[in-house]
Symmetry: C2
DNA sequence: TTGTAAGCGTTATCAG
DNA sequence: CTGATAACGCTTACAA
C-alpha cells in the first residue's frame, strides 16, 4: 500500500500539501493539485483510515445499536441509515443487544470504544436517565423511535399515540363497536402510547373503555395467540381486534382460524408497523405504517449535519403514522 | 480519555508492560499485572482502537457485504455473524450492494479501504474470476452461499441442488404428478442448481421434464404471480407448484386465490429458504430450510481461526437443506 | 520479566 | 499557497 509519503515524493511536494488535496481543505494551486492527483492515481494510493483516524480524532464511522437484528423492522432501518451514510463516505458499525438493559449498555460501550464519531441507538430497555446522561457525554447520540422530553432534540420519534388512535378509529369507521385490544409489553413506552391512542378513540366515540377488553401481550406472535384465546374464553363479544403490532396480529389470525373463524368476515384485525410480511398474510393485513426508513434516514442526516457539518435540508424529528388499508378489516355490516 | 502513557505512569511501569497486559501477550508477573490493571481501572482506561490499528496493522473489524439489507434473509445471516464476532471482541462493518456488480465491487473496495481484517461476502453479480482474483489478494475472504471450485476452501455453501430435489420429491411423495416449477433468475447460480434438483427428482420418478412446465421468475413475489398466470393461461394441468424461493411462493398463493382456488386443496405449493414470513402465510408455507444462520456463524469462525488464530472446533463448509413440513402441501388424493 | 525507542500513516500548527 | 515538524496512542523488536 502506498503511503502519503510516497505520493508526496513522486509529486515533488510536501506531506502537508498532499494531505490538503486529499481533504480538499485550504486552497491548493490547481497545477499542484493536478500533480498530486496524478501521483495518487499512479501509485493507486488509498488513505489509511486508521492513521487518519488517529491523527484527526475522527473515525468517519457511526455506531448503530439495534435491540435485535433478526426482525425485518430493524433491517429496513439499517438499510436506510447505511444508504444515507455512504453518500458521505461514512460507514456504519452495527451491533445488537438482545433487548435487555445490560446488553444495551455493553453495546454502547463497545461502539464508543470503537471510536465511533456518533451513535444511533434503538434501545428499549435502557432508562431515560441513562440516555440523558449519555447524551451529555462526548459522543453525539441520536435516539431513534423514542421520545425523551429532556433531550428531545436528540430524539427521532413516531407519534405512537396517534397510530393507536388511527387503528381503533379505523375499526369504528368500519362500524365495529365491540373491539378488543392486544397491547405490547407494559414496560415498552411505544406500546403504552399506542394503547393510549386506542383509549382516546373509544372515548371519542363514547364507548366505555373496559379493562377486560385489553390484553397485555408480548409483541410476538404468541402474544396474539394468547390474546385471542383469552378473549375467546372470557365470553366477551367482539367483532374486531386491534393489535399493538403486526406480529401479534398474525398470531390472532392463525388462532382465530384454529377456532373456526373465517377472516375477515368473522373477525376484523388490524396491526401496527407494516412490516414486510404483513402483505404476505391472508387476508393481507391492514395496518399502521411505521415510517422507520424515513426515521433512519433522518437520524443519519442529523449526524451528517451536526457532526460532519454537511448541510442538508431540514431535518424532521417527529413522524406521524398513517393507515395502510388492506383486506383484514371489513365492515361490521358485512359480518354475520 | 486516558492513554496508555498515563496508565504506565500511574502503575510505575513502562508503556510496553501496559501493552502486554492489555493484550496479555508474553508473560507478565502477576503482581505487576495487577498493578497495571488497577491503574487502568482507576483511570477508566480504554485503548484507542485507531492507534492500535495503526500500530498493529489490524483493525479487529470484519467487513460484511450483503447483496441487500432489506430482506430478512440477510438479517438472520448478519445477526449470526455479529454474535459470533462479538465473542472475540471483533466487530462487523456492514454494507450492502444493491445487487449489481458495480455496487458489489464498490462495496468491497469500501470495506478494504476501511482496513477490514477480513471480508465476508454474499454477492451474486460478481464473476467467479473476480472473486478468485480477490481471494488471492491480501485480505482474507470468505464467500457465503456460493461454491467456486477453484477456491472452494474460501466458500461456505448450501447444496441447492439437493434442496430443489427435496422440494419436488416432496410433491411426488404426496402423490402429485402434474408439477410445474417457477425458477429464480437464470443468471443466479443457486436458482439453476435448485432447478437441476427438480429435474433430477422428476427423472428419478420417470416423469418427463417438459420445458413448458418451467417458468423463469425473478425471486420476487411478482415472479410467483407471473408464473402462476403463465401456467394458468397455458392450459396445462397442474396440481402442484414448486417455487425457487419463498417470496415467489407467496406470489403464487395470492394469485391462485385471485383465480378462485382454495389452498392447499386445489393447489399444493412449496417454497425454498424458510424465511421468517413463511410461517405467517396461510396456509403456512411448506418449504426447504436454508441454514443461513449456521452458515453465517461458520463464516465468522473461519475468520476467527484463520485470521485471528483462535482455535475453534471443526468448521463446516457445506450445508445440506432439509424439508420444513407445514400446511401448504397436501396429498393429491385429497384434492378434487 | 521488563524497559527503550523506533515506527505505523495521517493531520495540524506554525512559519515562510 | 506551501513546507517542516510535532503530535496522535499504540505495538514490537531489541536490549537489558
Amino acid at each position: 500500500m502506498a503511503t502519503i509519503y510516497e505520493v508526496s515524493k513522486l509529486a515533488g511536494v510536501s506531506l502537508a500539501t498532499v494531505s490538503r488535496v486529499i481533504n480538499d481543505s485550504n486552497a491548493v494551486r490547481k497545477t499542484t493539485k493536478d500533480k498530486v492527483e496524478r501521483a495518487m492515481k499512479q501509485l493507486n494510493y488509498t488513505p489509511n483510515s486508521a492513521a487518519k483516524s488517529l491523527a484527526s480524532n475522527r473515525s468517519d464511522c457511526i455506531g448503530v445499536l439495534v435491540s435485535e437484528l433478526k426482525s425485518s423492522f430493524f433491517t429496513r432501518m439499517m438499510g436506510a441509515i447505511d444508504t444515507e451514510c455512504r453518500q458521505f463516505e461514512k460507514h456504519i458499525v452495527v451491533t445488537s443487544s438482545e433487548n435487555d438493559a445490560l446488553h444495551e449498555k455493553e453495546g454502547i460501550e463497545f461502539l464508543i470504544s470503537r471510536n465511533c464519531d456518533a451513535l444511533i441507538l434503538h434501545v428499549e430497555s435502557l432508562s431515560d436517565e441513562y440516555l440523558i446522561e449519555l447524551s451529555r457525554g462526548k459522543v453525539p447520540v441520536v435516539i431513534l423511535n423514542r421520545q425523551i422530553p429532556q433531550i428531545s432534540d436528540h430524539c427521532i420519534s413516531l407519534n405512537n399515540e396517534l397510530g393507536g388512535y388511527l387503528a381503533t378509529k379505523t375499526m369504528l369507521q368500519y362500524g365495529h363497536r365491540d373491539i378488543v385490544y392486544i397491547a405490547g409489553p407494559e414496560h415498552k413506552k411505544d406500546a403504552m402510547q399506542r394503547l393510549a391512542g386506542h383509549r382516546r378513540a373509544l372515548m371519542e366515540a363514547n364507548i366505555p373503555v373496559e379493562e377486560a377488553r385489553i390484553f397485555s401481550g408480548d409483541y410476538l406472535q404468541s402474544g396474539g395467540q394468547n390474546g385471542f384465546k383469552h378473549f375467546h374464553k372470557s365470553g366477551l363479544n367482539f367483532s374486531a381486534v386491534v393489535c399493538g403490532n403486526d406480529e401479534m396480529a398474525t398470531g390472532v389470525m392463525a388462532t382465530a382460524r384454529e377456532y373456526g373463524l373465517s377472516l375477515p368476515e368473522d373477525l376484523s384485525i388490524i396491526g401496527f408497523d407494516n412490516v414486510l410480511f404483513s402483505q404476505y398474510t391472508y387476508p393481507r393485513l391492514t395496518t399502521i405504517e411505521n415510517p422507520i426508513t424515513d426515521m433512519g434516514k433522518m437520524a443519519a442526516r442529523m449526524i451528517m449535519e451536526n457532526v460532519y457539518k454537511k448541510s442538508l435540508g431540514t431535518i424532521r424529528k417527529s413522524f406521524e403514522p398513517v393507515l395502510v388499508p388492506r383486506e383484514s378489516v371489513c365492515h361490521f355490516d358485512a359480518q354475520v
